[in-house]
């Protein structure tokens, strides 16, 4: 159902093709501005920083990262199409943000106006509890929630976000009622979990990677188990058809011509296929995804339908 795949021969082939064709095209021919529409230090920044050295090594130009923070990314995305279309300005782009934000209110852009060229990774949703929590398994948590409707507090980052939509979706699937407590960013949501302010957290696999044995993941929303957590079951294994999280990708201004959009898609694919890059991303708890420019429309249509439906269930949009 989902387009997220392991590294396939296609991606490798595409990478190879670019590697061969690249020098002839001489693109990019100067440093690239890579704008992160968030502040430094978050997942978007970290994954961009991980790409930085690989880009330089493969394509010979610097990726210069800058930040245009504000409005949960909306400030950056609303200005994206006004930026230079020479192909040397790119911006980080995030799901479900770019679907939910414009559906909620006028934020200066619409989902269809943006031009994502590649979704290169996602942080899979996961339920996280403290290591000393009474919940040993997902079933423990569901049992508690069934006995005490509304009493199970779960922290997460913001509202209308991947965490929030996951909570809404899972509550519906397991037929339970939990209380979602929105915090400013994943860091604050984790702090609340560790400090015992809430009983569980809707987080990502990255939380498990960062916090080690102080936390326990009850389930992850992936198709297969994450290599870093071989003992943590997927939601699907436990009978809940739930795969998803927060996607991160690259977008270009709409004035960038087709060939260059494709060229960017190929370049990001090539970085994504590098085993060293894969290793670094997985160690950080990220999960790679490969949605190239060619498959963009189908992927976005499917995501949009799903997020819109859940945001409606959550009461965020009409």
């Amino acid at each position: 159902m989902l387009t997220r795949r392991q590294f396939s021969a296609t991606a490798l082939a595409a990478g190879l093709a670019v590697a061969l064709a690249g020098p002839a095209l001489a693109f990019p021919d100067k440093p690239v501005d890579y704008i992160i529409p968030f502040g430094p230090g978050g997942e978007s920044d970290i994954s961009a920083r991980l790409q930085q050295p690989f880009f330089k090594e493969k394509f010979g130009q610097d990726l210069v990262i800058s930040y245009k923070e504000g409005g949960g990314g909306a400030v950056g995305w609303s200005q994206l199409n006004g930026l230079s279309g020479d192909g040397h300005t790119i911006m980080g782009i995030n799901l479900p943000h770019v679907v939910v934000q414009p559906a909620t209110k006028d934020v200066g852009y619409t989902t269809d106006e943006l031009v994502p060229v590649y979704w290169f990774h996602y942080t899979p949703d996961a339920i996280v509890v403290r290591a000393d929590s009474q919940f040993q398994s997902l079933q423990d948590l569901i049992d508690y929630a069934k006995e005490n409707p509304g009493r199970l507090t779960m922290s997460g980052s913001g509202k209308g976000t991947a965490n929030h939509l996951a909570q809404v979706q899972f509550d519906g699937m397991a037929d339970i009622k939990t209380t979602y407590v929105a915090f400013k960013g994943t860091g604050a949501a984790v702090t609340a979990l560790l400090g015992g302010q809430v009983m569980a957290e809707w987080g990502y696999t990255t939380v498990g990677a960062a916090q080690g044995d102080k936390v326990r993941l009850l389930a992850v929303a992936m198709e297969e188990r994450h290599p870093l957590f071989p003992d943590v079951p997927t939601f699907a294994e436990l009978g809940y058809d739930m795969v998803g999280g927060a996607w991160r990708g690259i977008a270009v201004p709409s004035s960038v011509p087709e060939e260059q959009r494709q060229a960017w898609s190929d370049m990001i694919a090539e970085i994504n296929a590098d085993p060293d890059f894969v290793k670094k991303m997985q160690d950080g708890g990220f999960a790679l995804s490969d949605v190239p420019y060619g498959e963009m429309d189908a992927f976005m249509a499917e995501r949009e339908a799903q997020y819109t439906e859940r945001a409606r269930e959550a009461g965020i949009i009409n």
Partner: protein, 660 residues
């Protein structure tokens, strides 16, 4: 165990050089309003890919330390907090500078910063794992009460008119809700404009509210910016040392407060400085006139904000939770390098950690000589530069600095407009600081309140949530103490000494005819409150409405009281504001025009144009050929030099289209 060998490791010539370079660069960056420690550290991240992790950490830690200290210069000499951490430094630092003690204040700031930095680093070295629990013990409700504690400072900062202070505070709290809400999906108070989506950036607001009024008054008269003694007095170290000795308790307390607040991931340097300042003010001895240039105020804030550096690293390294925004960047850089923070870090990678902590000590100690030297240079340049160049130069810095915060032209326009608002309201007796307090503490109060309310409701124990936790009760107690203490002290003094002191503690207002300007400002605030209520009616999520509705209600009530008092003729003692209105207006219009032109004709062209206009506007002496040439060359040098620095070294994407 705390690794003396790590100390020797930290002492390699390369690391010492990094620490020295970091402190110097950080101090300079921090002294420019708008350039924050976060940004300084972020610029360095790519450099660290090729460095050894310990050296990279030392470099970033040193820059961070220096930047927090550097923020004091602009706070003291220009009434502009270079970083949010230095807000409370302006309260006494700027009055000191005005009366001619700017050099002393800068030296005191350096001594206090070194002291605070060492205390913070000491706790990081010795007690990091247990102290990291402080970060976890602080829940939403504690953050809420901490914000209320900070807001209680408004009572002290209202400069003789409590209701104007309260109305200003509520105005600031309401301003803090503009934009996409942090913990809900609603967009608030933007009135459909995408420019306001990102909200009012705090540093931009600080620059606007504090610095623009200074510029507006500076341009109007030929008077000197700061009073100066005829002969230079060097560092005034003996004098400063005597003050430090007299304030040793204040210094230690502020450093500890700074470390503890630094550990709290949701608070940071600005809150640390405010809490330490509040405590120093509460426990002040008689004769120390806080708010009017008491050295203790500068010492308290600067010690506290530098202590947050060490304090902030405690949760960053032990829990993997960044204590402050620069820590988040450093954590990210470590992650990219493959260093895993968290509980295992101290054991698995102890060598790196201890080398880093000792490096932080080293950097802090190096800050003593470098800080004193750079401080004296900063003081001399502010005092010595001709007024025309000072006005144009500072205006240029506010624009480039504000732009750099998040690479947004809209922030520059908001900064200038807020500055005009700040100048107008302060002319009718509203102090600017309560507005700033509201702006900074608003998000902390709102998020804490909404989260505590949600959790308390789920637990079906709201009273227990808000009033049943011992840590909360402690903070509430301190809040009451600092609110009631001055009243009690005044009452005791009145009883002991009779009416002489009553005159001093009485409100600074006099009775006269209706105070129309205040009436107009109060009406404006009531209008803003009503607008916010109207806006809140359209929010989808009840969580996003509760705070703005409460605050708007408070704003309307306070503004009504202000309105009534003004209508009845109570007014603040007038402080005459002589000078040329034309020059004031030209300054504001020129800056606004420059901001609008930025994206059209490019940064450099716009900056040069505005610089020239402002130099002419601020010129009160006669133009001579020599002056014209010197001023033009200095202007070119400053504008081109800084544009290059921002564009090429700090990688700020300044607008380029159009001319150049």
């Amino acid at each position: 165990m705390t690794g003396f060998d790590s100390f020797l490791q930290a002492l390699t010539p390369l690391n010492v050089l990094f620490a020295l370079f970091g402190v110097v660069a950080g101090t300079v960056i921090g002294s420019i309003p708008g350039l924050t420690a976060t940004m300084a550290v972020a610029v360095l991240v790519p450099l660290t890919f090729t460095l050894d992790p310990a050296s990279a950490l030392i470099l970033m830690g040193a820059i961070y330390t220096g930047a927090i200290y550097g923020g004091a210069y602009a706070a003291i000499l220009l009434n502009t907090p270079g970083t949010p951490s230095a807000i409370a430094t302006t309260f006494d630092g700027y009055p000191m500078a005005r009366r001619g003690d700017g050099d002393l204040a800068v030296t005191l700031a350096c001594l206090a910063s070194v002291c605070g930095g060492l205390v913070g680093a000491f706790f990081l070295l010795t007690l990091a794992p247990p102290l990291s629990q402080v970060a976890l013990a602080f829940g939403p409700v504690e953050y809420f009460w901490l914000a209320i504690f900070g807001l209680s400072l408004i009572a002290a900062l209202s400069e003789g008119n409590l209701f104007k202070g309260l109305a200003g505070g509520a105005f600031g709290l309401l301003l803090s809700t503009v934009g996409v809400a942090e913990v809900s999906a609603d967009v608030r108070l933007t009135f459909g404009s995408t420019v306001l989506l990102g909200g009012i950036q705090v540093v931009a607001a600080l620059i606007g509210l504090y610095c623009i009024p200074v510029l507006i008054d500076l341009v109007a008269t030929p008077d000197r910016h700061l009073r100066v003694e005829s002969e230079p007095r060097g560092f005034r170290l003996p004098e400063a040392a005597a003050i430090v000795l007299r304030n040793k308790l204040n210094l230690v307390r502020s450093s500890v407060v700074g470390t503890l607040v630094g550990i709290l991931p949701g608070a940071g340097g600005s809150v640390a400085g405010l809490v330490a300042y509040s405590e120093a003010r509460r426990t002040a001895r008689r004769g120390e006139d806080y708010g009017k240039g008491a050295p203790g105020g500068v010492l308290a804030t600067e010690a506290a904000n530098n202590a947050t550096v060490g304090g902030g690293f405690i949760p960053t390294l032990v829990l993997g939770i960044p204590g402050t925004p620069p820590d988040a960047v450093i954590l990210g850089a470590l992650l990219v390098q493959g260093v895993r923070t968290g509980p295992q870090l101290f054991t698995s990678q102890g060598a790196i950690v201890y080398t880093f902590i000792w490096g932080l000590f080293l950097a802090t100690i190096l800050m003593l000589p470098t800080g004193l030297l750079i401080g004296r240079y900063a003081y001399r340049s502010i005092v010595g530069v001709p007024k025309a160049l000072l006005v144009a130069g500072v205006a240029f810095m506010t624009v480039i600095g504000t732009f750099a915060i998040r690479n947004n032209t809209a922030d520059v326009v908001i900064m200038i407009l807020l500055g005009v608002v700040g100048w107008l309201v302060s002319r009718v007796g509203f102090a600017v600081s309560p507005i700033v307090l509201g702006l900074i503490l608003g998000p902390i109060a709102e998020q804490g309140f909404v989260q505590a309310w949600t959790i308390g409701s789920a637990m079906q124990d709201l009273p227990g949530m808000f009033f049943g936790r011992s840590l909360s009760l402690g903070i509430i107690g301190f809040t009451l103490l600092s609110l009631l203490w001055p009243l009690g002290k005044a009452w005791l003094a009145r009883r002991a000494e009779g009416p002489a002191l009553t005159r001093l503690t009485r409100s600074a207002s006099v009775r006269g005819a209706t105070d129309w300007p205040t009436v107009v400002v109060a009406l404006g605030m009531i209008g803003f409150g009503l607008l916010a209520l109207y806006d809140a009616a359209g929010y989808r999520d009840a969580d996003s409405a509760v705070f703005p509705v409460t605050v708007a209600g408070a704003l309307i009530v306070f503004a009504l009281v202000v309105l009534l008092r003004a209508a009845l003729g109570f007014r603040n003692r007038e402080t005459p504001q002589p000078g040329s209105t034309v020059r004031r207006v030209v300054l504001v219009l020129a800056m606004l025009a420059g901001a609008v032109l930025l994206p059209l004709i490019g940064f450099l062209a716009s900056a040069l144009l505005v610089f020239a206009v402002l130099t002419v506007t601020a010129m009160h002496d006669r133009w001579t050929a020599r002056r014209a040439v010197v001023f033009a060359l200095s202007g070119l040098f400053v504008v081109i030099g800084f544009t290059w620095l921002f564009r090429s070294v700090l990688l700020v994407p300044l607008p380029t289209p159009g001319l150049f």
